[in-house]
Symmetry: C2
Amino acid sequence: MVKRVSLATVSCPVGRALDAIGDWWSLLIVRDAFDGLRRFSEFQKNLGIAKGILTTRLRNLVDLGVLEMVPASDGSAYQDYVLTKKGRELFLVVVSLRQWGEDYCFKRDEPHSALVDTTSGRPVGRLELRARDGRALTSSDTTVRKLDPQRTRNAKAARPSR
Amino acid sequence: MVKRVSLATVSCPVGRALDAIGDWWSLLIVRDAFDGLRRFSEFQKNLGIAKGILTTRLRNLVDLGVLEMVPASDGSAYQDYVLTKKGRELFLVVVSLRQWGEDYCFKRDEPHSALVDTTSGRPVGRLELRARDGRALTSSDTTVRKLDPQRTRNAKAARPSR
């Protein structure tokens, strides 16, 4: 995707994050990993995804450092897929999608799964964005400070490309 | 995508949110709308996206109620695309991707755009998930409480399908 996007987009962390995660399947695999799924067959069953697509996505997530392969927890010859720190830090991406989905993708009173605080058993609070001084912020309180394209070009020229 | 996923996934707000948003292009369009882009040609130029793909994605986002078409702000015959409340509430999805992208998709000292609090001009704080009593929560402090499949089936049978 990177080849098709502008320099401004490439200097945007949102664009890079989306480019890295790749597609919705990858994020659904990450969600399942948060839910405790570890085995190829578990992901395959839960997602109803073709084996070839799952193989590719898992390999990409391992290459990206979001998942790592570890010996199976049951002592069998299988490999388990577990989230790395980089993978676990996708948690708030998954939570933000969940909270928006809860608000807009279900009819009133339609049942859905819930994210609960394990200690209390109660649903978690809403995600919040705050200023450094603690004020709650909405989108209209914020601005994206773009890079000066000249500065970006110089910075790119000064180091080897990825 | 819904047809290929399990009942458990369909009762999951993350799965429904991903299914609704559709693909990364849609979320990049939403990001650009947060940045103030309003016109077809502006999205097209910034994303470097084929016109046909952009047309389809914009139509889907309007049908979904994430964007709405309004008379152009400059008084011309064009239509502008602006975020609805439902669209604006995707803000934290975009912010969570941004913060993960900042952490993991840039080299140290590599320049990138920044989300700033307009009042102070300073970068915003980190997104935080908290329990109802205010404790900060990570993924390991939470559990997804899945639905009883029997309850889901009964609930679905009790109302007309979408």
